[in-house]
Amino acid sequence: MNTMKSHYSPLQVADKYVDLVTIPIDFNQAASFFPLVNTGAQVIFSGIVRQANHNKEVLQLDYEAHPTIAVKCMNEIVDEAIREFGITNALCIHRIGKVLPQDLAVLVITNSPHRDESYRANRYIIDKVKHDVPIWKKEIFTDFTYEWGKGC
């Protein structure tokens, strides 16, 4: 994410951006990543770390990934969404490592000429990312107990 600007010059219009990052996701940079050419709708899903879960206060989440397979899977999912729903472009960024309550853990942005495609593609991407991409969440509570995420 911090290297986004170096991947594409403004004249090169990408149709997707996929990344796993260990630093906070820059929401504003991500939201303005794609030029809004032929865009009438932008849908943004922000996955935020809850402050409490299972009636316990959350200290932090530790996300782990199989990095190469995770990025490959995320690319495939975003490609499928672009193909299936006819959206103009899509972005999907997931944090790994330590993430604190109220932080952004995952961001999915879909752009399209009309809202229906963007809504459906965005839901498709986040559902598939949660289900298919080899990323695991360990939820650590303030009493220092922890639980592994149970999937979706």
Binding site: G47, Y63, E64, A65, H66, T68, I69, A70, K72, H94, A105, V106, I126, V129, K130, H131, D132, V133, P134, I135, W136, K137, K138, W148, G149, K150, G151, C152
Partner: protein, 80 residues
């Protein structure tokens, strides 16, 4: 032959992050899972719902494993 297995997520409750195992050449992935269950029966439920990758490919069917393969055990995802 000796193989290295990378362990991820909740499977780390039962196995170290990297395991070195001595197995027969060409052992199938399902046979490897059975060996791991023998080693740690409490991990059965997670192992039985895990995917296996050889290199960067998640495999769908049981495949033979050779010494040069990098094996990863991927429990059910819980990202997002």
């Amino acid at each position: 032959m000796k193989i290295d297995i990378q362990i991820f997520g909740p499977l780390k409750e039962y196995f170290p992050s990297t395991m070195h195992m001595d197995v027969e050449e060409g052992i199938r992935t399902d046979e490897l899972v059975e060996k791991l269950i023998d080693q740690s029966p409490a991990a059965r439920h997670v192992l039985n719902s895990s995917r296996i990758a050889i290199g960067d490919e998640i495999i769908d069917n049981h495949k033979p494993i050779y010494e040069y393969h990098e094996i990863s055990l991927l429990p059910p995802s819980s990202g997002g």
